[in-house]
């Protein structure tokens, strides 16, 4: 049972090799075999759900094998509430994408399917890695196939978009790698010569404040680019617009989640003190992203760019939930990751379907589609309302949890919570505005363009491709409990651990040398109280700094 994750990682690679070694020109066969591999991968991943122990916070399905023992690099994988659903989302979306590309990807279909399968391994690997080097390997492994997918099968400006995507991501990961190495070196020195890149072991290291800040921002640089957070989001509209439909679906559905997942899994727990100090600026950036993304989406004339900017807006909510570091916030962020993956994936698929028929994404070319494509309109409407956060559909649950969690428990992290949440909440309204406007411009009104009069409605294949996503959007909105109850224990444990380590960091903040967490735990019997006493419920972090400096000055004077 514990080898299940390994099987999940190896299976798509086998598929990719099989597909890539087929004779050239066998596109149909390649797609068929690739789809079979992807569907089987999904079936293999179902035992993850059935075997997942509800109510348990720690890692499950854990496996660890020494890989490079000289440096303590292990093949260490496991699954918990944060990663479970996103892994399942990955295994679900990959076959959907391959099947969805049945007619739209014509040239070099075999290579496309192989790239999708390699990408799947990369994504699952990044989600289940519990060793930082292993994580980094998969993190970079995702990059190459996505780069090829955008660059080979994209639209007119694809090469520039692909290179932009690659370089942006590499800059971030270069900084992250430096931080990873630094952390491992500190761990080596603290433990008297144990090399390890294992997350559980490196998590024991409590760095002094300055080093924490440097490392935290190095990690966040990498993750924020992937999310993408407001000032570094500029690669996303290009990448989305130029990518082929399946590329967009996977990019929005899973790849963006890697950024937020990385923040939950690595950046926040490894450097809690710096995370606490950075929470307010990050929350402000997230809120700017929410509002700015929505406003920019509103003025787009290109349907795909519109959805891309809506991603910027929605991902802002997820970041807000994470930096609030509250149980509801984390659960909501994870749930919203799923919701965004499904709804935005469905929106991109819809626009892909229009593009396939008309070869244009300009909104002005459409209008009155509802009359000729009723099936399509229904599917599109459900996805769109889910994305807009209509109660009863998937988007509402996540956004609501995030806002509530941030409002009630975000005070320890974020300064000026009510204001932040209030502005973020306007994002929900703006979301409804631009999405409904999109719907109106596409679907309603008279058919002004004669080319639209003979549009084909969805074929059976397309309806089947849509069906699981649409059903999930409704099901998860009506009955989110089975999803939430698997995420919640992990969130609770993460918050508890975060507060403990943050308290330990506060206790240790005066020291110049790093320390191990276990040596500081006894000084943190009630972590929340300690954090409150230093940060106050609503006090800016600068005050804490001033206190520290005063204390240091007093100590220096008394000596």
């Amino acid at each position: 049972m514990n080898e299940l994750l390994t099987v999940l990682l190896v299976w798509p690679i086998i598929g990719a090799v099989v597909v890539a070694t087929l004779p050239q020109g066998e596109t149909k066969l390649a797609k068929g075999i690739g789809l079979a591999f992807a569907v089987f991968e999904f079936l293999i991943s179902i035992p993850l759900l059935t075997g997942f122990e509800v109510g348990k916070a720690g890692m499950q399905f854990e496996t660890s094998v020494a890989w490079i023992p000289e440096l303590g690099i292990n093949y260490h994988v496991g699954l918990d509430g944060f990663s479970l659903w996103i892994v399942l989302l990955t295994t679900l979306l990959t076959p959907i994408c391959i099947w969805g590309a049945w007619t739209s990807i014509e040239k070099r279909g075999a290579e496309f399917v192989a790239a999708m399968l390699v990408l799947e391994t990369g994504m699952i690997g990044a989600l289940v890695s519990l060793d930082l080097i292993l994580f980094f390997c998969f993190w970079e492994l995702m990059l190459v196939p996505m780069y090829l997918i955008i660059g080979v099968w994209g639209s007119e400006q694809r090469v520039a978009a692909a290179v932009k995507f690659f370089i942006y991501t590499m800059v971030g990961s270069a900084l992250m790698l430096a931080a990873i190495i630094y952390l491992a070196v500190v761990h080596y020195n603290l433990t008297g010569g144990v090399w390890s890149f294992d997350l559980a072991l490196l998590d024991q290291v409590v760095l002094p404040p300055e080093a924490q800040a440097l490392c935290f921002w190095a990690f966040v640089a990498s993750f924020a680019i992937k999310v993408p957070l407001f000032p570094v989001h500029t690669w996303l509209p290009d990448a989305h617009t130029q990518a082929p439909t399946p590329g967009s679906v996977i990019l929005a559905g899973v790849l963006l989640k890697m950024g937020t997942y990385g923040m939950i899994r690595f950046a926040m727990p490894l450097f809690p003190l710096a995370a606490g100090d950075a929470a307010t600026p990050l929350a402000i950036l997230a809120v700017i992203g929410i509002v700015y993304g929505a406003l920019v989406a509103y003025v787009q004339t290109d349907a795909k760019r519109l959805v891309a900017y809506s991603s910027v807006s929605h991902m802002g909510f997820i970041v807000l939930g994470i930096v609030s570091m509250s149980t509801q916030g984390l659960t909501g962020a994870t749930f919203q990751s799923l919701a965004h993956g499904l709804t935005t994936g469905a929106l991109f698929m819809s626009i892909g379907i229009l593009y396939e028929r008309r070869h244009t994404r300009l909104l002005s070319e459409y209008g009155g589609i509802a009359k000729v494509m009723p099936w399509f309109t229904a599917m599109f409407l459900i996805a769109l309302l889910g994305s807009a956060g209509l109660p009863g559909l998937v988007g509402f649950v996540g956004e609501f949890l995030i806002l509530v969690g941030t409002f009630t428990h975000g005070g320890l992290m974020i300064f000026g919570v009510p204001w932040i949440v209030a502005v973020a909440a306007t994002g929900v309204i703006l979301g409804a505005v631009y999405l409904l406007w999109l719907f109106q411009r596409l679907m309603f009104g008279p058919i002004t363009n004669p080319k639209n009069e003979k549009l084909r409605d969805l074929s059976l294949r397309e309806r089947l491709v849509f069906a699981p996503v649409i059903l999930l959007i409704i099901f998860m909105g009506v009955y989110p409990a089975p999803f939430l109850e698997r995420i919640d224990p992990t969130s609770q444990a993460a918050v508890t651990h975060f507060n403990l380590k943050r308290c330990a960091s506060i206790r240790h903040a005066g020291a110049e040398r790093p320390a191990l967490l276990e040596t500081l735990v006894e000084r943190c019997e009630d972590p929340v109280e300690v954090i409150e006493s230093v940060y106050g419920d609503e006090r800016p972090a600068t005050q804490f700094r001033r206190q520290l400096e005063q204390r240091a000055a007093a100590q220096g004077g008394s000596r």
Binding site: L71, E140, R158, A162, I167, L175, L177, A178, I181, S196
Partner: protein, 606 residues
């Protein structure tokens, strides 16, 4: 030195000469085969390209087998000195022997096809490659400054000829002339440096050099009061001043010879590995040379150059004064490393010629490697007795970390050699009949037309880029980790610069991949080299680039064995150290494959 000549002509009374020759088996085989190929060329006849290649490959294969058999043998744990103290046989030399032999074999595999297709076939090619390989092996085995000079010259002269061998190309002649003039100049610098060092210390054997350095510093410090007296002689009697000036001169003179000597040698070696600002010849020579030779230079010459840099600067010139400011060479080399990687990468961005692009990228890689060299020397520099008491574990720590840093550099060198050979083999393969496809735009659509070769080149480029899951990533990880482990913010900043530099690297490597996969095929297509040689090399390089990542552990273990006790002079102490390292490994293996950290994490998890 004398041992070599007397030994070879059989005058030496000792029976050790035959043993020495046997210990140097790989080198001797290569030397013998270099002469053999010269003779067989006469009998080769019209099919001589294939025949000569086979003969040379048999020799290289034989030498590789012998080197592989010797590698890891307990006999060489303490660095066996042979031919007096002229050469030494140890794991370090043997590992690099294998790398050099395989490099030469790879080059010979496709160089013949290349020469024939571009109409400059000549019989001596294999001989020259073998002679150059012999020179490189002399360098990695060198235990004496004179051996270093001889090895460098043997290698360089053969390579000059190889660069200029394409007689029907003006660029080739120009490249050879440029490389020769610059190379001769740097050889002169090396010789000057060696002479100064000999003047300062009176020895040329590396093992005897280290104690002499301490003596020089001691003499210098002892002369300081006399210097002060001479500089401000107010009121002192004339005799005392005269005496003081004599003592000051005799005290300072060795140091005054020694430092310029070190600088000359450093300059010469940096020239050979083409570090900025000694890199000017690199793009021209790499571009003009026949592509197989370019690959040979980028892989083989750099391995040999770094071997000497490590042997001399990391293992010998590592006393605290020599590695720390104000007299330390590491601060200079840090700046050079920074300039090398930055200028190399930035210049590569602007190249439209694939060979020049790869040439500048090889310059950039030298920058990364120099970061590792500085790190290794800094570790060893902290492990010296400097007057004040040092805890024994710090000495131990400096040796352990220093060895690890050297092992990381070796790993990086191996990966770099594999990937760069693969890349140049692919460039050589793309073009035939005096028409080379070296302009980047000519690579448009290659991914569709030749998917196998394009995939191979892509993997090699990803390895050079340092992308996981290729071995290039682990090379970078190991070297940069070593640099990070130094508690030195300058070095850490250098690592961050290097990591950001690798993003620039990614940009221009991507340009080739973009051309191959994203651009449509041009109407006029470049022919490709006939023969299976180049595809074989590219395939092997691609497979190795991936395999060395998956099996990074066994490769790293061998590098660690090669680097164990690297700062020790040959002898008992080194053998003891290596034996203790081996004993530790055996204990670890006996304790089960589960590493310590793993068990601990399992404990915490439960």
């Amino acid at each position: 030195m004398i041992g070599l000549f007397t030994g070879l002509v059989g005058i030496s009374p000792g029976a050790g000469v035959l043993d020495d020759i046997l210990h140097l088996g790989p080198m001797m085989i290569v030397a013998a085969w270099a002469l053999l190929t010269l003779v067989t060329d006469a009998f080769a006849g019209p099919g001589r390209r294939v025949f000569q290649r086979r003969v040379a490959l048999v020799g290289l294969g034989l030498a590789t087998v012998v080197a592989a058999a010797q590698f890891g043998s307990w006999e060489y744990d303490g660095s066996l000195l042979v031919f007096g103290k002229f050469l030494q046989v140890d794991h370090f030399a043997l590992l690099l022997d294998i790398a050099i032999l395989l490099t030469a074999a790879a080059v010979i595999t496709f160089a013949g096809d290349f020469a024939r297709s571009h109409r400059f076939e000549y019989g001596e090619h294999e001989t020259l490659v073998l002679i150059a390989a012999f020179g490189m092996m002399t360098l990695v085995h060198a235990a004496d400054l004179v051996a270093i000079f001889l090895g460098l010259e043997t290698m360089s002269i053969a390579v000059y000829v190889l660069v200029g061998a394409r007689w029907n190309s003006r660029a080739s002649s120009e490249a050879a002339l440029k490389y020769f003039i610059m190379g001769a100049f740097s050889s002169g610098m090396l010789l000057m440096g060696i002479a100064l060092l000999y003047g300062a210390t009176g020895v040329t054997a590396l093992s005897e050099l280290a104690p002499q350095i301490a003596r020089i510093f001691h003499g210098w410090m002892a002369a300081q009061p006399y210097v002060d007296l001479v500089m401000s002689p107010e009121g002192a009697p004339l005799d005392a001043i005269r005496d003081a000036s004599d003592r000051a001169v005799t005290g300072i003179a060795p140091a005054a010879l020694f430092f310029p000597g070190v600088i000359f040698i450093l300059g010469a070696l940096l020239f050979k590995v083409s570090a900025v600002p000694f890199h000017m010849w690199t793009p021209d020579a790499y571009e003009g040379a026949p592509t197989p030779t370019t690959g040979f230079m980028a892989a083989g010459v750099k391995i040999a150059g770094f071997a000497v840099l490590l042997k001399l600067f990391v293992a010998v010139f590592n006393t605290p004064r020599l590695v720390t400011a104000p007299y330390g060479w590491t601060s200079v080399v840090s700046i050079i490393a920074f300039a090398t990687m930055t200028i190399g990468n930035l210049a590569a961005v602007r190249q439209t010629n694939v060979k020049r692009l790869l040439a500048y990228s090889s310059v950039a890689h030298v920058g990364y490697l120099l970061v590792g060299v500085v790190a290794a020397a800094s570790f060893y520099g902290q492990g010296h007795y400097t007057g004040q008491a040092r805890p024994a574990d710090q000495l131990m720590w400096s040796r352990v970390t220093g060895d690890m840093a050297v092992a990381s550099i070796l790993f990086y060198l191996l990966v770099y050699a594999v990937a760069t050979l693969g890349a140049f083999a692919c460039v050589a393969w793309f073009g035939a009949n005096k028409k080379e496809g070296v302009a980047a735009h000519e690579w448009s659509g290659v991914g569709l037309r030749h998917p196998g070769m394009a995939l191979g080149l892509t993997i090699c480029l990803l390895a050079l880029m340092g992308m996981p899951p290729t071995a290039g990533f682990f090379g970078k990880l190991f070297v940069f980790r070593a640099a990070f482990e130094n508690d030195n913010w300058l070095l850490r900043a250098l690592v961050v610069t290097a990591l950001l530099n690798s993003v620039i690297g990614a940009y221009y490597y991507l340009r080739l991949i973009v051309a191959m996969y994203f651009r449509p095929q041009p109407a006029r297509q470049i022919e490709t080299l006939p023969g299976r040689g180049a595809p074989l090399v590219v395939g092997a390089a691609a497979v190795l680039s991936l395999a060395m990542a998956v099996f990074a552990s066994p490769v790293m273990k061998r590098c660690q064995l090669a680097a164990a006790g690297f700062a020790y002079a040959p002898g008992e102490a080194k053998a003891d150290w290596v034996d203790s390292v081996r004993a530790r490994w055996e204990a670890e293996e006996a304790a089960g494959n589960e590493p310590e950290a793993d068990a601990a994490s399992a404990e915490r998890g439960s």
